[in-house]
Symmetry: C2
Subunit: 195 residues, 2 copies
């Protein structure tokens, strides 16, 4: 059991068959040393890929992704979920359906930060149906960038996200993979990071 | 000129008298080594305060705050700007007006992550009118926690935020302080971090 799986086992709360609450260390309260562990794991998994930039989605992707960016010594871009006053023109935009919030939002990245020379690693906190990751991939593809892979903190392996991303041609690596949340219990599938 | 001031001078874009765009290293694209520098600076400034938790606001506060949290070896909480499906009950909530977005939003923190035993350091990316920081302080006060100070990445020193926070009894430390954005130029005031 790796360090993230241990946190999930000890602190995660199962809210029904599909929802795992990890707000004590990932997406509301954040454990910075665990984020560093996750960032180092992504850096190791994608060390040979010549990554030039990381791309994630606000807000919960930022903490693990900035730690990976520090380890890999490349910039991080976090896609915005809606337009703000200081971030308006010249955007790459995709529509993304949020499983958690059950709504469609527009995610966007300023064109000036992505180019066809970039080799992009996408990072996200959860993988369920794959919509957020596919939205980020769509943004990178609009820029003509190469997508070297998708790094997921917690994958719900019983949902179709991983297969959809693999079918789209992307390499997927997850630090924790949940096989099932049935009967209020977390069952893990084999992770891409063992120790 | 410290490392953050140098980034602002070289990469910041002045958009009118009040708006400084720093989306190439802070609030859209993120420079992780600069975030580490900022995190270490906050850790040094508040080293004697016995901080138990950091509190920031999604999204742009997360990257500098998680680096400070790593350095200080304490958890970070990022307040949410609205309620989501997995984060609904038992919240401390405050109304906050966003200068950038020119709208009011509700920010909230789960009650279980704050207690009267906590010594809270508030971190935010920008200080202009002080509304976001006062909202975070209001949340910590609802919990009966002690607020040891407010760490700001970029302070617009020509706006009333700092004085409002000081008048409310809070210690304020900023890594970069902007004296003026007139004539399309950034003029710095003396920062709380020199080197």
């Amino acid at each position: 059991m790796n360090k993230l799986e241990l946190h999930i086992k000890q602190e995660g709360t199962v809210l029904g068959e599909n929802v795992l609450k990890v707000d004590s260390f990932l997406n509301h309260q954040v454990d910075p040393e665990l984020m560093q562990y996750i960032g180092q794991a992504f850096a190791k998994l994608f060390a040979e890929e010549g990554v030039t930039k990381l791309l994630t989605l606000e807000s919960s992707g930022i903490a693990p992704a900035v730690m990976a960016a520090l380890e890999m010594k490349v910039p991080l871009i976090f896609a915005r979920k809606r337009k703000s006053l200081t971030l308006k023109d010249d955007l790459y935009t995709e529509q993304v359906y949020s499983f958690t919030k059950q709504e469609v939002s527009e995610v966007s990245v300023s064109r000036k930060f992505l180019s066809s020379q970039d080799r992009i690693l996408i990072i996200d906190d959860f993988l369920a149906n794959g919509d957020a990751a596919l939205g980020l991939a769509g943004i990178a593809r609009q820029a003509g960038a190469e997508i070297v892979g998708i790094g997921i903190v917690i994958e719900k392996a019983f949902q179709p996200g991983r297969q959809k991303l693999i079918d789209s041609g992307y390499r997927v690596e997850s630090i924790a993979r949940i096989a099932s949340l049935s009967d209020g219990k977390v069952q893990f599938a084999t992770s891409d990071i063992i120790d």
